[in-house]
């Protein structure tokens, strides 16, 4: 009995010890913006960050040589201007003289040179090192073929001039310098603090905000950066809470703890008429791929039949998130998007094609498996498509779901007959989507290759005339989704958000980037504690 009392007392003590501190880190009069991140940011080192959670935070802390405007075109940022040599191989960036780090030091071209060489250093093991592979000797240095970093084609000519030598002409290079991986870094700080340089006590940045607090797995607090070279942001403080469960995030929004939240699919119908509701397109495509090495999908008629047997108009009815049904692959909101392309829903024709391929009403087909990674949305779509194939083609397809990493390995080593994948834009150009299915693409799991398609894509990448470029992409899309059909696109995703009416100026863009520099909170607000 005594022992029990002792243990109770002990447990009580432990429980009261380290009680969460009551500080909310906010002052009544401050303009605060609060939103959730879907996971703990894996890193705030922009040379290493590749996931959208980390990048979402970094983009509010840092800026690069160039930045996208609202139409997603690169514009001057830290670089006031740049010049290009006649052969297009040498870029000279002239930096603004008035840019300072949050500790008061001036930003120089040396910070860029250091950052780029660090990004490319094999010891850094950065996943995005290849973003700079257009730079002379960058790939050789990154892969260890040359050891001397000074051979890499980036050089601070003096404090405010950065010279970049490319290995060949790349007209899109000013877009590359908008990426977080190319942002400048401080040699002195990284060498002094090692891996811990991204902790709030050490992190020095140059964007509109600086990092004040990072409670791992829980909360990041950003405050306005008084050394920022642009206009001071209207917000005093930004709080990112790590909330992975979307239903929990929604509850937090409703109870006044968050100012912006992504709606879980199941909640969308109930919020459609809500005044805070915002829907926007999202440059993310969802498709089923066929493995052309496996019967029966070695036959193009079978692939066409399977694609035509699906009524994509049903998908938004199921997912209810304003998804855009897709028969072609370049998403809405991007250049060369063309909803006319692709195989329309036509069950009679689908059945006829299947018969012509030698499988009348599915007779003689080998067992077919549709694979996807475990996820409620994937599951719902797979079950729906399975039912449609059964109904419209008379074909029974088995479903197989796998845990994400197991699935990725399966795709790589033994691609299933039909598989699900998605693609989100890295940059808002059709090249990013269409390049995926060239025969040299590491992400083309279909085992399909078409020389004509490859040529169209490579020609389009360097084509300056928009109408010619459009024609090239139209032709390529026809090969991809009408004649060869290695994939059947299903839909383009949409963003469904709730944004507090107290928040002004929060742009919702199709790349799901969040820039809080211009966001305002109406003064009459009250932050609930």
């Amino acid at each position: 009995m005594k022992a029990l009392l002792i243990s109770l007392l002990f447990i009580g003590l432990v429980a009261s010890f380290l009680w969460p501190s009551a500080d909310r880190g906010t002052v009544e009069s401050e303009a605060v913006f609060r939103m959730n991140l879907t996971a703990e940011p894996p890193t705030l080192d922009w040379a290493l960050a590749t996931d959208n959670v980390s990048i979402r935070v970094i983009e509010n802390l840092m800026e690069g040589l160039t930045a996208y405007d609202a139409a997603l075109r690169p514009q001057p940022a830290i670089a006031a201007r740049w010049t290009v040599s006649g052969d297009g191989r040498i870029y000279t960036f002239h930096l603004r003289p008035d840019v300072y780090w949050s500790d008061g030091k001036q930003v120089t071209a040396h910070d860029f040179e250091y950052a780029w060489k660090r990004l490319l250093n094999p010891a850094t093991a950065s996943e995005y090192a290849y973003f700079l592979y257009d730079v002379e000797n960058a790939a050789a240095y990154n892969t260890g073929r040359i050891k001397d970093a000074d051979l890499v084609g980036v050089k601070a000519l003096h404090d405010l001039t950065l010279r970049v030598d490319l290995k060949k002409q790349a007209v899109y290079f000013p877009s590359v310098t908008t990426f977080t991986a190319t942002f400048p870094q401080r040699k002195d700080l990284i060498e002094r603090y090692g891996d811990r340089w991204t902790e709030p006590a050490h992190l020095v940045t140059l964007g509109a905000f600086r990092l004040e607090e990072w409670r791992h797995e829980y909360r990041l607090t950003l405050v306005a950066n008084e050394h920022y070279y642009g206009d001071r942001p209207a917000l005093d403080r930004v709080i990112f809470y790590v909330v992975s469960e979307e239903t929990t995030a929604l509850t937090l929004y409703e109870t006044g703890y968050l100012d912006r939240v992504t709606l879980p699919p199941i909640a969308i119908p109930r919020y459609k008429t809500h005044p805070d509701y915002v829907r926007a397109p999202f440059l993310r495509g969802y498709y089923y791929g066929f493995n052309l090495d496996k019967a029966p999908f070695d036959k193009v008629k079978v692939r066409q039949a399977f694609s035509m047997a699906i009524d994509r108009e049903e998908i938004p009815k199921i997912l209810k998130g304003g998804e855009i049904p897709a028969t072609s692959w370049i998403p809405q909101g991007m250049f060369a998007h063309n909803p006319e392309i692709g195989l329309a829903f036509n069950p009679e024709k689908a059945r006829r094609f299947l018969a012509e391929a030698g499988y009348k009403n599915g007779a003689g087909l080998p067992p077919i498996t549709l694979a996807f990674n475990t996820d409620p949305t994937n599951r719902m779509i797979a079950e729906h498509i399975q039912a449609q194939w059964k109904k419209n083609l008379g074909v029974t397809v088995l479903l197989d779901n796998m845990e994400w990493k197991v699935y990725l390995q399966q795709l790589r080593e033994d691609t299933p007959q039909v598989f699900r994948l998605g693609w989100g834009a890295d940059y808002p150009d059709p090249d990013n989507f269409m390049n995926l299915f060239t025969s040299t693409s590491g992400n083309n799991n279909t085992h399909w290759g078409n020389a004509e398609y490859d040529r169209f894509i490579s020609d389009a990448a360097s084509e300056g005339d928009p109408s010619k470029r459009l024609a090239l992409y139209d032709a390529a899309q026809r090969i991809l989704t009408e004649t060869d059909v290695p994939i059947m696109p299903l839909f383009f995703a949409a963003q469904n958000l709730l944004i507090s009416p107290e928040i002004e100026g929060l742009e919702v863009n199709a790349m799901d980037l969040i820039h809080l520099k211009k966001v305002k909170r109406k003064p009459s607000n009250k932050v609930q504690s």
């Binding site: 199941i266 199921i318 079950e383 039912a387 197989d400 845990e403 197991v406």
Partner: protein
Amino acid sequence: MIQPLFWPRFRQDRLAVASLLLIAALLLIAIFGDVIAPYAHDLQNTDNNLAAPNAQHWMGTDALGRDLFSRLIYGTRISMAVSLLTGVSALLLGTCYGAVSGYAGGRIDNAMMRGVDVLYAIPDLLLIILITVLIGRGVSGVFLALSLVGWITVARLIRGEVLRLKENAYVEAARAFGVKDVRILLKHILPNTFGVLIVTLTFRIPSAILAESTLSFIGLGLTPPAASWGTLANEGWKALKFYPHLIFFPGLAIFMTMLAFNFLGDGLRDALDPKQNKVS
């Protein structure tokens, strides 16, 4: 061995009897699900999805417009099969291990129990996740993972029983007469653990149902079209505020079944051996 007074005693426990009837009914539903269910479990109607309970669909429909009542009935089969199978296999594995360890005694016992200690020190959930990811693919992975975790408790329990029974006079006598060890174990010791085994089984089954629903929550549950109650409840809990019927009915099914098995276990235990009142 079942005591002669078992049935009269058990009959007095009305909760346990009701539980037994409920479980019997569930088994019937599991077996004759196709006949009972008003709709096919995978019949979709996207124009009538997320409907609240009504005359056509007693429990409403899900996001694909499938009849929830029918899905629940089909789910009974899967949930019952998975939990019964894992219960039985954990029991078999645990009994063999525990019996050998307890009967052998001495160094072998010590070594075998240290092995159990090690497995015991690995978090259950991690073990389950690793196994399901490793084996993957639907029912077999979930089933194997849950059995592999469940047997440890059983092994400890049975070992204790065997240690106790080993000291009985009739075992000593049998040994003195030169009866083989295997025969002693099978004929004289294990039958006496029958009561404990039955009770353990009735408690293993609900924990398997619970563990399976947790797996579904994590997203490592069964492969469609197999929709266990756990899968259904997991599809529903997010909709708690918007479409409560999606969580209410599967949740109720899990809850009632767990309750029935637990009460049945209590009743069996009391009836088999009123003094032996341990919760397992």
